[in-house]
Symmetry: C2
Subunit: 245 residues, 2 copies
């Protein structure tokens, strides 16, 4: 993407839209489900619904933390970047998930939309308030933090010890799980580009591309086009992924 394009995206990339919890697509999955139902209706004080274009930036590394986000549609990525532009995608965030809680005053990573997405943005002050008033809210946040930590540990093992092929197999299975695709449907979309995958798996785009090709050559997957995979042999992929699932 040229800097021109990026600038254009930024300009129109965010739009605040009316909050409509009653019709929320992830009402039961989202963090909001841990609040007593009457409370949900008074969330407008703290929460705004935001619509994002692809590649829109919701928060930037270095900026003070002000909000946390509950994803209702689309996909986000958390990106850390070093001074020399080395990049890592710490996580992809799917609907129902919640990101942005931290004990730090400034963001360590930027939060960006992979595809057009919608999020509910919670003011951190509001979250503080909700945590104090509703133990169930704090309880759920802790549960989620523990799960995120488990996931991060998985990712560490993947990055530290798996081969490129194993990393990709593991990534595909994990993404599939997160996207809640039914087992009998082999198709899955890959909304993110190869370079996002590479930066997520600690590889180069070329190595990711070659790994896709090898998985295809081994008959484990099919690639109708670069943005779609068919899982032909989930067993085989699982074996490759070395018990990371």
């Amino acid at each position: 993407m040229t800097s021109h394009t990026l600038a254009r995206c930024r300009q129109h990339s965010r739009a605040v839209v009316p909050l409509d919890c009653a019709r929320c697509a992830v009402r039961d999955l989202a963090i909001c489900a841990s609040l007593p139902p009457p409370e949900v209706d008074s969330l407008e004080r703290y929460v705004s619904s935001v619509e994002l274009q692809a590649n829109a930036e919701l928060a930037r590394a270095g900026q003070p933390c002000r909000q946390a986000y509950s994803v209702t549609s689309g996909m986000l990525r958390l990106v850390r970047t070093l001074a020399d532009a080395r990049r890592q995608v710490v996580a992809f965030v799917l609907p129902g998930h919640f990101v942005g809680l931290s004990e730090r005053a400034v963001h360590r990573h930027s939060v960006e939309a992979v595809v057009p997405s919608r999020v509910c943005a919670f003011e951190l002050d509001g979250i503080r308030d909700l945590r104090e008033r509703f133990p169930s809210f704090e309880h759920t946040l802790l549960q989620r933090a523990c799960r995120d930590l488990d996931d991060a540990h998985d990712a560490m093992l993947l990055l530290a010890r798996l081969s490129p092929l194993e990393r990709l197999a593991s990534f595909l299975l994990r993404l599939r799980e997160q996207m809640k695709i039914r087992d009998d449907d082999p198709r899955m979309a890959l909304p993110m580009g190869r370079s996002d995958i590479a930066d997520h798996l600690g590889l180069t785009v070329e190595t990711v591309s070659r790994s896709f090709t090898r998985l295809r050559e081994q008959g484990l997957i099919a690639l109708p086009d670069p943005q779609h995979v068919e899982i032909l042999d989930a067993e085989g992929l699982s074996e490759l992924a070395s018990a990371l699932h």
Copy 2:
């Protein structure tokens, strides 16, 4: 370590000793500080103090989770192992820190003592109870979980994108911080062996050893013996560590 030695360690590796919170070395740092003082005295119901020999195993991957641990002295390591013996040290745990909370029913990693250590072992049932009764306790747990998550994200960036030399520099600075060594004291001990460091940084022992040598050759550190480092140029190390601090 031979299997004979290991067996011997196991046998006498754990000893339950009397709980003595009044004289706890990490009383203010530990999770206990978030409980109202009178409550601390009745902790015996849930908590036992355990003394561990070096390499003793406090929990094993695959076992059901029953306890969580607050370290009061020594050092623990969290270890994940693949079927083919590839290993990763997810974290080193120092006094004042708390490990073992998870949303999973079984441990994903084993918990082992790096050096002779002492921990307070909390029954998970007890933790559940304390969480329900004391919002401040749950609040602190969430704070710590958020910090651990931030740390895990740091570790992911390190594993995904830093060179061996950068990883080692980052590791040394980080460990130094955790051990709370005064800035004016260049000496620091490395309680863990090279293979633990390797498995923490996603490298081989040989590469770790060579990286130590290179840091020494560049005048950034001195190595009086394999278990001790002197930081000669903290600036230089910091630069190498690429803003991971």
